[in-house]
Symmetry: D2
Subunit: 226 residues, 4 copies
């Protein structure tokens, strides 16, 4: 699975994020999923926080619909909202229920500061900027999970967290990442031209991508401290 497949802008932004990208995609939490050494308690704690995360992340993707300028952009963003609200959130409900965490308790999860920081950063970037600012802040989560899933699908040494890994390694999620990559490339070309990376705007977007990546690192870190 090459990062290239998620599009040109993604590849450039990921590079510009420097060490933060590795800190995120190869975090100790991720390695614990790979070799099964992550304590179950940490995983369930993470899942509950991630459920709260997905609520606000879905709201941010809905904001991408609001900020779209073409029918194609709207359809791309709507598809992601549907995938998040109808599928991914439901997945978390299922795993948590199977682990003995009832829906009521899941819904009532108190939001940790590291969690809040991330989603409010993304939402505010989107509200204050245009679709490009929003997509740049949304991309690290979508594609980072795709990259982590693909790698762990190939490198995992334990089946303890196979369900989680398979979700993000699977064709469905990988296809979502490719689609978001196209949405991002298309939105950039439409607004800044084919050579969008030469615009000063692109450097500012890379900053948003890197900041969101750093907030992902904090999120994994939080996952390890239930």
């Amino acid at each position: 699975m090459s990062a290239q497949t998620y599009g040109r802008a993604y590849t450039l932004m990921r590079e510009a994020a420097g060490e933060a990208w590795g800190d995120y995609t190869r975090h100790a939490f991720v390695e614990g999923l790979r070799d099964g050494s992550l304590p179950r308690e940490a995983f369930l704690h993470y899942l509950r926080q991630d459920y709260v995360f997905l609520i606000h992340f879905s709201r941010a993707w809905a904001l991408a619909v609001v900020k779209s300028e073409t029918h194609a952009e709207m359809l791309g963003a709507v598809a992601t909202v549907n995938a998040l609200v109808a599928e991914e959130m439901q997945l978390h409900v299922g795993i948590c229920e199977a682990a003995g965490i009832p829906q009521d308790e899941l819904f009532a999860t108190p939001e940790r500061a590291e969690n809040l920081a991330y989603t409010r950063y993304v939402l505010e970037a989107g509200y204050s900027g245009d679709l490009l600012d929003l997509l740049a802040a949304l991309a690290p989560c979508v594609m980072g999970y795709g990259e982590i899933g693909a790698r762990l699908g190939a490198e995992k040494t334990s089946d303890t967290y196979a369900d989680w890994i398979n979700t993000y390694a699977g064709e469905g999620y990988q296809g979502d990442c490719a689609a978001v990559g196209q949405l991002l490339d298309g939105a950039l070309e439409r607004r800044l031209g084919k050579d969008f990376e030469t615009s000063p705007r692109f450097a500012a977007l890379c900053d948003k991508f890197r900041k969101a990546t750093e907030l992902e690192v904090n999120f994994w870190q939080m996952g390890m401290t239930p």
Copy 2:
């Protein structure tokens, strides 16, 4: 078809809108749909403007997802976005194509000022206020069409515009109106209590509903002047 079926808030807001409500739901354009006397040219002109309207109206409903506070509110708003983007906009594409207006031409329809005024009013009300402000501005279009459709389904004297009438008179659309009515009632009760109509806030929401109703009147009027 009683207005009651779209919920309590709708019934109160409709009453508070006074004469504007009748000016909207019994506009000459509507009566022309009922008895088939509306010139085809006016109808197609209206349809094209309505397509542009639906783009921005869908964006406004996506904003309702962003502004939701509960999972139920999110699901209700997402369902409407899907119905608009995936179905209603497609319906317009189909009718226009059948009438010899190709998609490219439809997409390139220049937006009339009466059209722009309405959608920007709704979007701005939503951005500047909370979910209640947004829903109050969205309601007249959704439910007004439901009420018009139901009446015309029973009273039409011509089949010239039967397709249009049946769409809004049909169970599907009537169900959408009932769902939006529940969403509105629920959002009000959650924020202002069971007796929400006693809050000063409710009067301000009725003002937004009435203003949007007046902008609907202007939209029909525009429809009659291609």
Copy 3:
């Protein structure tokens, strides 16, 4: 008074607006101010609507503070908010009072649809886009009045509306226009580079400028029909 003095972006956008710019800055209402033939009733009606306009226009300039990325951008936008809220709105209160329209009546002016269309368009452009989208939609009002004021200051053949003309022809207002022109040029260079007009983004901004110009035309037209 050359348009050049309000900056490079303004000159380009004004050109791109084509005939709409002349329709706005040489509207019959404007010519009526120049030669004093505008009926007093129309002028007072316009002033009252313009007061309502300024409320929402000030809100839009406050949104420019929110959307600023540098301290200089913030200071520029804050200065304009202050000029609008503390000075220009107060000027209208004064002229209206002198004309026998008490503050209470002024504040209660019902907003006409042509008025609402304009401010909501600007606000929504700002909310949905970034600072550039907002400034492009704000510019026609600020600089158009500057251009009209400067021309009428030189060409007026009657002193009936000299107070109004002198306000916009005066050094203070002309300086505000130059400052906004610098703010716009600076914001564009920062985001799109020195040759910002070669970015696809610039064409989209010119569309917003032209649309706002057309809404100005409708506003003058409304002024003539109390």
Copy 4:
């Protein structure tokens, strides 16, 4: 200095914040300002972060202008924007310069996650909600500093941080707090009625106030770890 003087809503919200309020206003950082034991390095680190904080906090107050519904609300919010942008930010520039931190370095301060979390939370609450949501999230900073300043003005046992203390203990800042308290009370009464605390809405606003208070605690904590 009684909390009562900042208004009724503030008193109720402060009470509803429970222990978080004391954690914030009597944090070790605050006590270190009182008795002069706070290391200079921590203070300067805090000042630099607070400068970045004030940029976004000013943007949030500008958003309060956008979300205002009356001229009085607009004037109240504009006054606060001016106080922040023109005065408080300038104060930080001065103290930092006197401490050998040049403006360029101050402006380039990298934003810590605890800092970002707070301002983005406030801005997002404001964007997604109405003026009440925004004011509830803004209040803990404004009034908490007022309360801390007033107490430290009376209880300080060292003059090491007298400049800082006197700023917030002084009549000017205390007057600002009283004005914001009136703005909050007025906005609540206008929207929810005289007995606003009986509305379900008020409980949600208290949650926002408490969350912002918790983020203030994290901000002090960050201040102690340069």
